[in-house]
Structure formats: structure tokens, C-alpha cells
Amino acid sequence: MTQGSEIDSKAWLRRFWARLLVGSVAFVLGLGAAASSLRAVANVYAPPGGEKITYLLEHADEIDVIVMGSSIINVGFRAKQFEKRMREDHGRPLGAYSFAMGRLVGAELDFYVRRILELPLPKLKWLLIDVSLDQKPSMQEKNWYSRRELEWQTPRQFSMVWSQFMAREEPLRSRLGKIWPYGRHLAMNVLAIGRALPALEGFDRRNQPTDFSLASSEDERVAIKEAKAAQYRARPAEHWAAAQRLRTKRRPGRDRTNALAAAWRDAAKERGVEVAFILGPTMKNAAFPAKVEGGADLRIFDYNDPSANRRLYQLEYHYDPWHLTEAGAKIFTRALADDLDAAMDALEQR
């Protein structure tokens, strides 16, 4: 190559890199601007949070208490019975709503707590949050790309998931492999990939929901529970062994979860909403400390103790060690109502 052509080649390369840089920036700007606009359009026709958020907005002036949580609440809490108990036994005519979905834990729960606190709910006074001890978040491949898995994947939630998985004592490759689908979903959510289509249906359900979630009516749901309970009652030793383990040993809770709960409590307080945390009757061998460094203690309704809540641990009220039958749900709902009433009394007396 002659000197002239070498200079010419270098000049061309400089121009090429300059155009590549400018082009890349312009491309990202175009992509981002279009994706934001398209996501806004999609939110009009298919708002995030599905039917639950829509319900809250439509009944904003009726709801005083929202009970959030995983299947523990989905199965164990009955809003109508709660309202009835509060109204008839405690003289408090409150409106209640169950915002519960299977495996609603960790970063996803954080997403919805913050979303609910952003909604215009003028009557909302109490947020009861089930912290679902020991439920590890995991994105199973069969649920990938479901609307539910996509919508909570924001940069903030991704960073929470990242911290959570990086704190595990596992090989790095394994941790990165588990984080990868979250990264994909984050990219899909941010870039509004696939949001145009009605394919993202069935918000509350994952792609392959359990038979319980498939119940199309209350009667069907009750029937499924009773069938499971009948099978469970045939194995009482399993139930009592779990209860026995909890009597003898309880692990200390995870500080990270406790700090996150305190953050929720404080964010709700700014909005004038009180928060109480529910430890459901799950016989999970873990504790959840109420004490918060540099702040007030968390308000906890602790039912994860067979000795203090004998009724809730009767075999006939469970269909597995963690979930309650309809009869058990009645007991649990009443207990929640009673504990909330006591908490409200304590606040009013201050």
C-alpha cells in the first residue's frame, strides 16, 4: 500500500468510526423514543397489572384495606368475610381487597407495593403485606414471556433481583444463568417487545397455572381445595412433623427482607397509609425480625407459630403444610380482622 492510500485508508476509517458513533447514538435515541411512545399506547389498551389494578382504580372510593401477598393470601384470605367481621364485630365498616397472586414475593412484590402506593386511592388506610417466608423467587421457563412475568421487570426490580442472586452461595455461572431470563424480560419490557398483541393474556395466571388457578368459579375453587385436603388428611404425620420442627427451632430472619419491609412501611407512611406485615400459618422455619435499625419496629401479625395459633394449625384446616382450606381461611381471615382492629385501636389511642 502506498503512503497516499494508507493515509486515505486511515482517513476513511476515522470517518467510519465517527459515523458509527453518531449513527449508534441516533439509533438508540430513535429506538428509545419509539419504544416509550409505543409502550404508552399499549398501556392504554392493556394496562400493566391487569385486572387487579383496574379493579382498584374502578373502586378507589370503596377500598380501605388492601391485603397483598402470595398464594398464602390468595387461598387463605376472604375479603367479604373480613369486611363482615370488621363491620359486625368491631364496628368498623371497611372495604377490603385481596391483591394476591401465587409466588408474589421479592422484587415483584416490591414492584406492586410501590405501584399501589402510586395509585389514586383516597380511602386507602391500611396495607397488609404477606412476606411469604422462604419463598424463593424463580422464573420457570414455562412462564417466560407471560404478561405477568414481563410487566414487573423494570431496571429497579432487575437490580433487586441481581443483588438477591449475587448474594447466594452458588457458582457464578449458575447465578448468572438464573439472572439471564430476568435480563431478557427487562429488555423486552423496556423496549416494549411484543406489547402490541393480545397474546399477553391471563395476567394473573402464568402460562401453565396450577389447577387451583384454573378454577373458573368459587365453587370450583372450593371443590379443588377440598379434594386436596382429603388427600392431605390421609397423611397427618407430614403435617405434625412440620409443626414439630417449628416448635423446636426457628432460624433468624434475613436482614435484607427486613430492611425492604421497612422501606415499604416508610413509603406508605408518607402517603398516609399504615402497614402491617403478615407471617402466614405456613410452618416455615424462619423468623422475621420486627426490629429495624434506626427506626420504629415493624408491625407484624405473626401466625407462623403453632403454639400461639393452635386453631390455624388443625389438620382439617390445611390442604398442605402452607395453605388453608375454606374453613381454615375463615379462621385466618377472622384472626387478621381481629389483629387489625387491635392495631387500629392502638393507633387511635396514641
Binding site: 447514538v25 435515541l29 430513535g30 399499549a42 417487545i193 411484543g194
Partner: protein, 468 residues
């Protein structure tokens, strides 16, 4: 690994960076060869042995053809190549079809035999790279092409990843000269290739996959749907297969272009054809020209008597149908196209053809009939079985309630008009993209990508032609 999967982006960026930055054209070719094997191995690493083995056999067959001193020896080596490649196809693709067909035929004559079957996975791209290899060996035999002495160059020709798994079926005469000296980065038409890739993505994921989502249930259970839905499904599938395959080809051509290679055109607005001959000059061009050059011409082509020409056309298209898959629907599809070609040729030789050409509107009418013929045959192509196709036709005759969203017709018409406009104003669009300032062009490309991603259905669907 599909072009539309997220993992392809980092793979390609690495290929692009190393292709243009490694020192020495030989090193770059070696890298591209290795990258192609990584790409193919991502499907199933076991298939790499098949690809490598087939490459080695055909390379040495061609060398031996060149070294052979007699015509008989040369021909013998061609037979070795054909046996090797067609043998692979027979084992992996056609064994169960032929054995079950033979058993069925024997059963008609009252002879009952057990059906021996093979449980094998069809290697991706087998039909494509075997045909590519056969074309090379036959071209060497016909002395149309010098033998490729460098094994790496030949291996890269066979395995070049942009076109390895679903074409276009490249000819060695078109590809090998591109390996002599490297093209220059400054000669790569980035604007065109990026736009073509984006267009291909749009066609494949946004149009083809979404249409499939709507019409697949009709093909699965035609008895549940009425006439309007069956017709819509037929039209929809014709759009789907075109968008899927031409979209993939666009992406392949763009990827190859960004690496400095030119692949052959594979589609030329086939649904605007006014007769079946024209359709096959515009649809899957690399396959139709392969069939013409290596099957039709080998049988005598147009140099024999007229009845034999018709025979050659029918047999060529029948085998072309069989190439698509081991199913009677593909055989009948090919046969029907062969018959249509024969009829078209016969008609074109009559005086009526000249008179017809002078009739006002004859072009439009011919186009309509050609389109209807193609669409109906694509319905046969799509059906799982001939019985299922007959069931669909029966539904057309019986009417019934409309269940599918009729707005899909609007989508189909809009796509057709869009294709027409694109074809008509292609040069103006090209000039516009070349003249636009870089920031403006890149910004517009970003918007186009966002729209394409927005319309992407969530579940990945493989390309239709991967199954062939």
C-alpha cells in the same frame, strides 16, 4: 440459533468485528469457517460431524473428478457424490416415508409386512447444503467450474452460516470467486443491508408469525371453521410462507452483505406473476434454478420432444415437491405445479395464447388465476395430510359461521399493496436511504426496529423452511 434470537446479535457483532479486523484474508476465512460451525453446532453439535463428513467426501470427490483420466471414472465419482448426498437425505428425511408408502402399497395388493421405521432427527439445513454440494460437484464434472483446491475455501462455501440452514442455495461459481480476494469494508453498503435486515425481521416475526398465530387453528381442525375462515386461512398462509421465507432470505442476504459477501436473490415479488412459469422464476429462485440446471436439463430439458419436455417438467417439479418433505402433500403439491407448468407451456404454443394476450385485462385475469392456483396449492402444502386438505375444501363448500377476525383480510391486502409499492418504488427508496444524513437514517432505523420489536410475538417460531 435463529437470526431473530437475542443471542445472534452478540454472535454476529463478534463475527463482524473479527472478520474485518483480523490480519490476512486467509485468517479471516478460517475464522468465518469456524464461526459457521459454531452457528450450526448451536442447533445440535452432533450435526457437525454430518456437515464435516459431507464436506470432506464432496471435496475429495471433486478432486478425483478432476484427476480422473476417463469419462467413466469421472462419472463414477459423480455417482459417489450423488449416493453420498442423496443417501443422507434418504436416511434422515425419506426413509420412513418411503417404507410406510411401500407398506401401504403392498397392503393394497394384500401383502402385509411390518413397517420398519427409523427414529432420527432431521439435521437442520440438510436439504440445502447437500444440494449445494451436488451443484458444485456436477459443475466440476461438466467442466463449468475449476475444482476448489483449498479445503478451507470449499468448507466455507458449504458451511457459510448466513445461508447454511435455509438457503439461498448458492452456486460455487457465484460464491468461490468471492473467496479469492477479500472485499473492502468501505465497499459494504451498510445502509442497504441494515434496512434489508430490518425489513426481513419485520416480515418474518411481525407478519408471518402473527398470521400463523391466527390461522394455525384452522389447519389443525378445519371442521371447526366455516368457508370464510378456511379461505382466509389459505390466503393467510400464502402470505405467511412468503413473509417467513423471504424474510429469512432478506436477513441472510443482509448478514452476508455486512460480512462482505453477496448472496443470490431468492424472491422477486412472486405473487405478481401472471402465469406459473413466471411464478417459478420469482419464487425460491435458488431452488427452481437448481432444479432446472441439475434435474430438468440433465433429463434433456427443452432439447427433447415436446411430450418428453412435459414429462421432464412434471418429474422435476414432483421431485421438487418431495425435496420439501416426506409427505404426500408435498409430492402432490409438486406434481400439481408440474402439471400446471406443462399446461402453461402447451398453451403458450397455441394461437389462442397470442389472441389471449391481446384481450384487454387478460394480464389481470391471468394474474388472478395464477394467484388462486398458487394459494390453493399452498393450502395443500400446509396441511398435515391429503385428508386434511380435502376436509378444508369440503368446509369451503359447506359454508358455516365465521370465527376468525376478518380484519386479517385488510392486513393481507395492505401487505400486498405495500409489496407492490415497494417493488414499484424500490429504486427511489434506495436513493432516499443513500442520500439521507447518517443521524437521520439511524434515527429512522431505530424507530423501525422499535416498531418491529413492538409487533414481535413473544414465543419464538422457527422459520418454516428450517423443516425442509
Amino acid at each position: 440459533m435463529l437470526f431473530t434470537e437475542p443471542v445472534f446479535l452478540p454472535f454476529f457483532l463478534l463475527c463482524f468485528a473479527l472478520r474485518w479486523s483480523l490480519r490476512g484474508w486467509g485468517t479471516q476465512k478460517t475464522f468465518l469457517w469456524a464461526a459457521s460451525y459454531v452457528f450450526y453446532g448451536a442447533w445440535d453439535a452432533r450435526f457437525l460431524l454430518l456437515l464435516a463428513g459431507s464436506t470432506v467426501v464432496d471435496y475429495f470427490v471433486a478432486r478425483n473428478i478432476e484427476a480422473a483420466t476417463t469419462e467413466a471414472r469421472r462419472r463414477a465419482w459423480v455417482v459417489v457424490c450423488l449416493c453420498s448426498n442423496l443417501g443422507l437425505l434418504t436416511i434422515f428425511k425419506y426413509y420412513n416415508f418411503f417404507t410406510s408408502s411401500a407398506v401401504t402399497l403392498l397392503g393394497v395388493f394384500g401383502v402385509e409386512v411390518p413397517t420398519p421405521t427409523l427414529q432420527v432427527v432431521l439435521p437442520v439445513g440438510l436439504s440445502f447444503f447437500t444440494f449445494q454440494s451436488i451443484s458444485y460437484v456436477v459443475d466440476v464434472y461438466r467442466r463449468r467450474l475449476p475444482v476448489v483446491r483449498n479445503f478451507r475455501d470449499y468448507a466455507l462455501f458449504v458451511a457459510f452460516f448466513p445461508q447454511l440452514v435455509a438457503g439461498p442455495i448458492m452456486r460455487a461459481a457465484d460464491y468461490i470467486p468471492q473467496l479469492v480476494t477479500s472485499s473492502r469494508l468501505r465497499d459494504v453498503d451498510f445502509r442497504r443491508h441494515l434496512a434489508v435486515f430490518c425489513l426481513g425481521y419485520l416480515k418474518k416475526t411481525c407478519f408471518a408469525d402473527n398470521i400463523a398465530h391466527v390461522i394455525d387453528p384452522v389447519f389443525a381442525k378445519p371442521a371447526d371453521y366455516g368457508a370464510a375462515d378456511v379461505l382466509l386461512a389459505g390466503a393467510g398462509y400464502s402470505v405467511q410462507i412468503y413473509c417467513d421465507f423471504s424474510g429469512y432470505t432478506d436477513m441472510a442476504i443482509a448478514v452476508a452483505g455486512l460480512l462482505g459477501f453477496t448472496l443470490c436473490k431468492n424472491f422477486d415479488a412472486p405473487y405478481f406473476s401472471r402465469n406459473i412459469q413466471e411464478f417459478w422464476r420469482r419464487w425460491h429462485i435458488s431452488l427452481s434454478t437448481w432444479l432446472r440446471d441439475y434435474l430438468y436439463i440433465s433429463m434433456g430439458g427443452g432439447r427433447v420432444s415436446e411430450p418428453k419436455i412435459y414429462r421432464n417438467l412434471i418429474v422435476t417439479m414432483l421431485l421438487g415437491g418431495l425435496w420439501h418433505g416426506a409427505n404426500m402433500t408435498f409430492v402432490l403439491w409438486g406434481l400439481a405445479h408440474g402439471l400446471a407448468l406443462a399446461v402453461t407451456r402447451a398453451f403458450s404454443k397455441t394461437r389462442a395464447a397470442a389472441a389471449w394476450a391481446r384481450v384487454p385485462g387478460s394480464g389481470v385475469i391471468s394474474w388472478c388465476f395464477t394467484l388462486i392456483w398458487v394459494v390453493v396449492l399452498f393450502m395443500l402444502f400446509r396441511c398435515e395430510s391429503v385428508t386434511s386438505f380435502v376436509a378444508m375444501l369440503r368446509q369451503v363448500a359447506h359454508g358455516g359461521e365465521r370465527l376468525l377476525d376478518a380484519r386479517l383480510w385488510l392486513v393481507i391486502v395492505a401487505l400486498g399493496l405495500g409489496q407492490f409499492a415497494f417493488h414499484r418504488y424500490k429504486e427511489e427508496l434506495r436513493a432516499l436511504t443513500q442520500r439521507a444524513p447518517v443521524p437521520f437514517y439511524a434515527f429512522a432505523l431505530g424507530i423501525a426496529c422499535a416498531v418491529a420489536l413492538f409487533l414481535t410475538p413473544i414465543a419464538n417460531r422457527p422459520f418454516i423452511y428450517f423443516q425442509f
